[in-house]
């Protein structure tokens, strides 16, 4: 089952990368989030699945659309100078390109590719050290002050014994209580992001002489 979902995910990811039309790519990314949420639900990570549903499929699609309104819908062909594959069309466009534009784009793409490859190799190198999914002797699970404590001490029991925090959903206890500082930081980060957008994109307020708010 996971294999099927993963195959769908890979297909969607490839489609999103290949599409030149950013609008279509946004739609595809929405579908990607949908399938990702199914995968999370399949792995019983309900809170993550919920967040993926609400943020990945909903708001981020809407925000990407809003961004596309600003930057235009097509990826320009100059940014897509092929790395390995050369077709006649791109060859022609490279001849037409005066100066070293295409070469420059090629260089940029190559360095981007190299950076991605480097990170990918690093991540792949790290994978063998990780415990298998759901392993019972994973370090985070065995450590008495991490998962063991959250799982056994935080919720209130049904027989009336009080836990350290209370809620049945341990994730809420971790986010709000054990890791309360981190969550506060996250909230401030969201606030900061919105603040930056306001500072960058909002036009300077006009004088009141015209018709009130400058839209």
């Amino acid at each position: 089952m996971e294999d099927l979902i993963l195959a769908i995910l890979v297909g969607l990811a490839l489609a999103a990368v290949r599409l030149k039309d950013l609008l279509a790519a946004t739609a595809v990314l929405g579908a990607y989030s949908l399938m990702m949420a199914v995968l999370w639900a399949w792995m019983n990570a309900l809170d993550v699945s919920f967040t993926e549903a609400a943020v990945g499929a909903g708001i981020s699609t809407v925000l990407m659309l809003a961004a596309i309104v600003r930057v235009g819908r097509r990826e320009s062909s100059r940014d897509r100078a092929p790395l390995f594959r050369t077709s006649l069309g791109t060859f022609r466009s490279r001849i037409k390109d005066e100066g070293g534009r295409a070469a420059h784009a090629r260089g940029a793409r190559f360095s981007a590719f190299a950076a991605c490859a480097l990170v990918a190799v690093g991540l792949l190198y790290g994978i063998p050290d990780m415990p298998p999914v759901g392993s019972h002797d994973a370090p985070a699970l065995v450590h008495p002050d991490v998962a063991q404590r959250y799982l056994h001490k935080s919720p209130n029991r049904e027989d009336g014994t009080l836990g350290e925090v209370g809620p049945a959903n341990i994730i809420t206890s971790v986010l709000g209580d054990y890791r309360g500082y981190d969550t506060m930081g996250e909230t401030v980060v969201i606030f900061t992001a919105a603040l930056c957008v306001v500072l960058l994109l909002r036009p300077a307020p006009r004088r009141r002489s015209k018709d009130g708010e400058g839209a």
Binding site: A24, A27, A37
Partner: protein, 102 residues
């Protein structure tokens, strides 16, 4: 009953795989949005099925409900964007017009 759930899940996932071809092939953006919308509906059913399979459907249905709402909003957002583009083009707004040509 679990066999039924698993069979239905695999069937619906296979349906997603079929629709996926439409997402990748296109040809128009509307085809892709349509296919994504279909995948969204299938996702709702998938979540419900997985919930019943795991024997605690309540929580999974919360997510499915959120999906039903969110999927609609995302679809409408894309469509409104496209209608807006078309309207802008018909009014001859120069700043956006030329980008839409293939």
């Amino acid at each position: 009953m679990n066999h039924v759930y698993i069979a239905a899940t695999v069937t619906v996932l296979f349906g997603v795989l079929v629709v996926l071809r439409r997402v990748i092939l296109g040809p128009t953006v509307h085809d892709r949005i349509l296919a994504v919308n279909v995948i969204g509906t299938k996702t709702i059913v998938l979540l419900a099925l997985v919930g019943f399979l795991y024997g605690r459907p309540g929580f999974f249905l919360d997510i499915a409900l959120a999906y039903a709402l969110i999927n609609f909003i995302a679809t409408i957002a894309v469509l409104r964007y496209m209608e807006r583009r078309a309207a802008l083009r018909s009014r001859g707004a120069a700043n956006l017009a030329e980008e839409d040509d293939q």
